[in-house]
């Protein structure tokens, strides 16, 4: 009886662990990299996926919908979503690191609605890390170099002028 109880307890615990892990897997769609999407687009075509990366360039709102482009460090993928999902988002550029977002939605290898573009029709866009200003790194040696070269140009111009004056005389 005791042995049966122990076996039952172990079985229940294992089942619970399995159920928790399955629930975890089902709770959110699989996070896919741009590399996987470009290498094997057929595998993910029409499936709901999750994609993470930085919003770059522009937030292109067109009425009730909007386009953003999300770069995961290797390639950027176009994301089509409701305009309300992109409200308050910041896009990255030279002076700014854009919002790092997680988008979840249906991946299209060649979206027929958008002329064959590879895109994600996202149901949700979640900001993981807020955008921040990028620091402009200026090498101190570059400043010195600029001053030195300016001096060299002045010397050259003076010598040319002197040569011309001497020739005239």
């Amino acid at each position: 009886m005791r042995i049966t109880l122990r076996i039952l307890t172990v079985f229940c615990l294992l089942s619970a662990a399995l159920a928790v892990s399955c629930w975890g897997a089902c709770a959110g769609p699989e996070t896919v990299s741009s590399s996987s999407l470009l290498t094997d687009p057929g595998l993910y075509d029409g499936r709901t996926i999750s994609f993470e990366g930085e919003v770059i360039g522009d937030i292109m709102k067109q009425g009730r919908y909007a386009w953003i482009n999300v770069n995961d460090g290797r390639s950027a993928i176009g994301v089509f979503t409701a305009a309300e999902n992109v409200a308050g988002l910041s896009a990255g550029g030279y002076k700014r690191q854009g919002d790092i977002v997680r988008v979840s939605g249906e991946f299209h290898r060649a979206c027929h609605r958008h002329g064959g573009d590879m895109d994600i029709h996202a149901g949700s866009v979640t900001v993981i890390i807020k955008s921040a200003a990028r620091e402009e790194l200026i090498c101190p040696a570059a400043k010195k170099m600029a001053v030195l070269l300016a001096g060299a140009i002045c010397l050259l111009l003076i010598s040319m002028l002197y040569g011309r004056l001497r020739k005239k005389r």
Binding site: G93, A110, H112, G116, D117, A142, A152, I153, L156
Partner: protein, 520 residues
């Protein structure tokens, strides 16, 4: 016996080359001003340093060449004139052109390299040559965070290179230069629009600036409608115009034209690409009201037939090859198949698909269609690369003439005519010249393909990438990347350079170097 070039020859070449280099330095004032206005301190320094390097090297070179020439003038009677007023001969002109493009590549690469977005100076040189030669293949890293200033320079190199580096110098910086036509021809512009070559250069700029205003305005409007801010839309509009009209193919963002997800943008760029692929002489006739020329000109007819034929091949390849567009409608085929084909045929290189998709999803048949389109190119004296429509037309007319000679009685005089601005009788020397350039292009495509295969890539992808580089197109099937072997980068740089100059200047430089080594 090969004669070794004299020091005075080198001095004349070097002196005029230094003037072109100084002219190039002045063009960098535009990105410098942009950096100042946008408050981009790092890029401002990058361009300031580059301009200073150009001025130091240009002025030094000018002084050294003048001194060498003056000392040689005392010994040789052939050089009586001063170096300023000396009329460079054909050899001087051709070598100046070939060297000025190499100098532009190196000097234009300096600010790119200083930005840190290109991992080596070779990569920056690749980008610079790709820009000047209006190719559009890119090795930029993290392009989405590149400064506006550097991005403007990337696109501006296409505008300069599209018109011709020497055309820029002739138009704005070199006054009363009698050897101008030789250099103009050296830049693969063997047709003068107007009797005077300086006026021709200025007409080319007039056309370019008019289209710049119209094209940028149209792209700006579409960009704003697409949801971009007005400032960003204007910047993107100007950059995209320069890349489209000059059949370049760079774009401000890493996704190229796919970034916009907008068919309006694609329609406008398609029109601009075709306008850029038209001969400037034809532009002149259209501007002066002779619109019938558009329908009668052999180049336009061949271009129409060629686009249609290559599109059929590509479309059949896409439909039957299991690509993701097979199940899409005609609109999908147009936006993905036709746009890429037009981009390749006009030598532009804009992409609305990822390079990886082309390499992995497009069938061999569709790639062959694209390769043919890229190899054929646009019109002569336009901003496109490739074999060019006039040459294809002439070769086709020569075939027709030969067939007629077989069919007609032996006594019959078979004269073949074609219409290119005026009625032209087909001559053997014209056919020979066309065949020679075509053969040179085929060899150049082959060299790149062989190099690609030696680096471990397949035949079709290697030929695709090689044709794209040599015909100054810029479409990629994924070979062009930071990780590709350095030797392949060098070969692609050579292909872009030789393909843009259409060989004559390159062959002359090779001959000159050979004479310097082996001559007596």
């Amino acid at each position: 016996m090969i004669l070794r070039p004299r020091a005075e020859d080198i001095a004349v070449i070097g002196y005029h080359l230094s003037r072109i280099i100084l002219g190039l330095g002045l063009t960098m004032l535009l990105p410098l001003g942009c950096a100042f206005l946008c408050g981009e301190r790092g890029p401002f320094l990058d361009f300031l340093i580059t301009i200073e390097i150009i001025f130091v090297s240009g002025l030094l070179m000018m002084q050294v060449c003048r001194a060498v020439y003056e000392s040689g003038k005392k010994k040789a009677s052939a050089y009586e004139k001063s170096i300023d007023s000396l009329d460079p001969n054909w050899m001087h002109g051709m070598i100046m052109v070939a060297l000025s493009w190499l100098a532009a590549m190196i000097l234009g690469a300096i600010p790119l390299w200083l930005s840190g977005h290109w991992i080596s100076f070779l990569d920056a040189c690749f980008e610079s040559m790709s820009g000047f030669a209006t190719t559009g293949l890119s090795l930029a890293q993290d392009l989405d965070h590149l400064s506006l200033t550097h991005n403007l320079w990337r696109h501006f190199t296409m505008f300069i290179g599209g018109q011709g580096i020497v055309v820029v110098a002739l138009s704005f910086f070199v006054k009363g230069f009698s050897g101008a036509f030789r250099m103009y021809v050296g830049e693969a512009r063997d047709e003068r629009v107007l009797p005077n070559v300086i006026n021709t250069a200025r007409f080319i700029w007039g056309v370019s600036f008019t289209y710049l205003a119209l094209g940028t305005a149209a792209l700006w409007a579409v960009g704003m409608k697409n949801g971009m801010g007005s400032g960003r839309a204007l910047f993107h509009g100007a950059c995209i115009f320069m890349a489209a009209f000059d059949t370049g193919g760079f774009a401000p963002q890493s996704q190229n034209m796919l970034y916009y997800h907008n068919y309006g943008m694609e329609i406008i760029t398609a029109v601009l690409m075709v306008i850029g692929a038209i001969n400037f002489r034809l532009h002149y006739h259209l501007w002066t009201g002779n619109r019938r020329e558009l329908l009668r000109n052999i180049e336009m007819r061949v271009l129409f037939v060629s686009i249609l034929a290559t599109f059929i091949v590509t479309a059949v390849g896409l439909k039957t090859g299991g690509s993701s567009y097979a199940s899409g409608g005609f609109l999908v085929l147009l936006r993905k198949g036709f746009y890429q084909l037009l981009s390749g045929h006009t030598g532009t290189g804009f992409m609305t698909v990822y390079a990886e998709q082309v390499g992995k999803e497009w069938s061999d048949l569709s790639l062959v269609g694209m390769i043919c389109a890229m190899a054929l190119g646009g019109a002569v004296s336009s901003t496109t690369g490739g074999i060019k429509m006039l040459r294809i037309g002439i070769i086709a007319e020569a075939f027709v003439q030969d067939i007629k000679k077989v069919i007609f009685p032996s006594r019959a005089m078979v004269e073949q005519k074609f219409h290119h601005i005026k009625e032209v009788f087909l001559e053997d020397k014209t056919v020979r010249a066309s065949l020679m350039v075509t053969l040179a292009y085929i060899i150049l495509f082959g060299i790149g393909a062989l190099a690609g295969m030696l680096c471990g890539f397949g035949f079709i992808p290697s030929l695709f990438e090689s044709t794209s580089a040599a015909a100054n197109v810029g479409l990629s099937c994924g070979i062009t990347s930071v990780g590709m072997p350095a030797a392949l980068k060098v070969i692609y740089i050579f292909q872009m350079w030789a393909g843009r100059l259409e060989f004559i200047a390159v062959f002359t430089l090779a001959g000159f170097l050979l004479a310097a080594i082996k001559g007596k």
